[in-house]
């Protein structure tokens, strides 16, 4: 049997994406594990604001404390969710922190020093997208939004006033689940290592699936074709959004990639490319599926596409 001619190139792209993303995934899991060891129970996370506006903003602001790209943020967001952090705070972090961190802001400035509006518009746009997604996902009950294992662990760490006895499947009767009081004692280091390694191995396999999908689509779909669609204002935004979904590069370097075609596209399309990739792309789908149920994932993806399209359109009206 003869392998298709595109397969060696797709295999190389797959390896490039995977090997580049693995260190960032490791950083995220290490930070998540360290947080659970240093601050067992995560009481401080539960003190994040629950206000519909301040919640997402507080979560987004935590990005400054974690300069990692989107792959590394997933395990940290999972840790926030299971620790009982307000949903808005955890989701605000998940969706905005990949842009609102010093490395990404610095790389955007380094790539576009002559376009100061972009330096302001990118973080602002990320906050707007994160806020919109938080409000949108708040329409779903947590049972329909979060994966069952995340939800079960989250219920155990939420205060009794926040959940009903029926929602909390354990922790009150019987020896197995730990109550918040027990969980607030520092766990043995080996337990933290054990749980973090399990999480890393699971995330790595999901990352493999995402990278394989992204590599195959990139190889079979000529990028030039997407950019050729990009002459018209709306067409250019849609084309660059599709490109960011397919390329799946880290938010810490996507500004340099955008630089290579910035002259060929509208300003709104450029911003759309820089906003959408950190929230959702082919590589991330599997990782986000670890937190969100399919319905939540579909709503988040659809909401992100719509929010970014509207922001791109507005920027084109402003800048063109």
């Amino acid at each position: 049997m003869v392998a298709p001619a595109w397969l060696p190139t797709a295999w190389a792209l797959f390896q490039g994406l995977l090997i580049e993303a693995m260190p960032f995934l490791l950083i995220g899991v290490l930070i998540s594990g360290l947080a659970s060891w240093l601050a067992p129970g995560g009481q401080w996370l539960r003190k994040l604001p629950t206000h519909p506006l301040l919640g997402p903003l507080a979560g987004a602001a935590l990005g400054f404390a974690l300069p990692a790209c989107e792959c590394g943020n997933v395990p940290v967001a999972r840790r926030m969710l299971v620790a009982g952090a307000p949903l808005d705070g955890a989701l605000g972090f998940l969706f905005a922190a990949p842009v609102l961190n010093p490395i990404v802001i610095a790389s955007t400035w380094a790539a576009f020093p002559d376009q100061p509006w972009l330096l302001l518009a990118r973080p602002l746009g990320a906050v707007v997208v994160a806020f919109s997604l938080c409000r949108l996902l708040a329409l779903l009950p947590e049972e329909q939004l979060l994966q069952p294992d995340v939800l079960a662990e989250r219920r155990l760490n939420q205060p009794l006033s926040a959940v009903t006895l029926l929602q909390r499947r354990g922790g009150l009767v019987g020896p197995e689940p730990a109550s918040p009081a027990v969980a607030s004692t520092r766990p043995p280091l080996l337990d933290v290592l054990h749980h973090s390694s399990g999480e890393l191995l699971q995330l790595a396999l999901l990352l493999v699936g995402g990278c394989a999908l992204a590599a195959m689509v990139q190889t079979l779909l000529p990028r030039q074709l997407l950019l050729q669609l990009g002459g018209a204002p709306t067409g250019s935004i849609l084309a660059l959004m599709a490109l960011s979904l397919v390329i799946s590069v880290c938010s810490s370097v996507d500004a340099f990639l955008a630089l290579s075609f910035a002259a060929q596209v509208t300003p709104g399309a450029l911003l759309a490319f820089l906003l959408l990739g950190p929230v959702i792309d082919l590589k991330l789908v599997g990782l986000l599926g670890l937190l969100l149920r399919p319905k939540g994932l579909a709503l988040a993806s659809g909401g992100a596409l719509l929010a970014v399209l509207l922001i791109g359109q507005w920027v084109n009206l402003w800048r063109l």
Partner: protein, 232 residues
Amino acid sequence: MATVTATRLRAAGLALWGLVLLRAFADGRLALLLRDVFHPLVNLAGMVLLMLAVGLLLPLGRQSATIGPARRRDWLTLAASTLIALLLVLLPPNPSFADLAQQRPVDDTADAELTFVLPPAQRSLTDWVRLLRNQADPRLFSGEPASISGFVLPREDGQPLLARLLVRCCLADATPVGLAVRWPSDRPLPKRDQWLQIEGVMAVQAAPQGEELVLVPRRIQPIQRPRRPLEP
């Protein structure tokens, strides 16, 4: 037979991923996949994964009773990780640079990155492209000697270019830059993806957009793909 604990399986999984990253660093494939600046990060991640694997097996302290024997899911995770690790180690990357380049727009940013100008004979293909973007009049460089290497990139509307790929992060974001070559008329055109070292002199020729700089070869030598084929 002693019961295999989930911790031991997880240690094996971490060690596998660590070895994959260290192997990728050691066998030189990173030069084909990632920008140089990321190579130490991959190496460090590989070492950290191995250290974590060892840490899992050491008696670092009391282990809670919730960690029990390995379950079916742990075995499946290890099996999948092993399969992927084996494929990654046994099948090194071998992409077609011409395929990658033909799918992507030409890099427009080269002019922004020119920091100094080398003597003509020392300029790489990318240096020449950056210089031309800064100094649009190709006549200024006519007659200058050049010695450059790159891969053959066919064009739909003309003769093949000699090209290089520029990367910011990894192969996924590589974009091509190329120089026109006046290929000898008494020989067949080179094959796509063939790496060549060309020595010659720069000249000016008519092009659809006006005039372009073209390399007139004095010596064309097929070479192996360089150890570091990607350029920043």
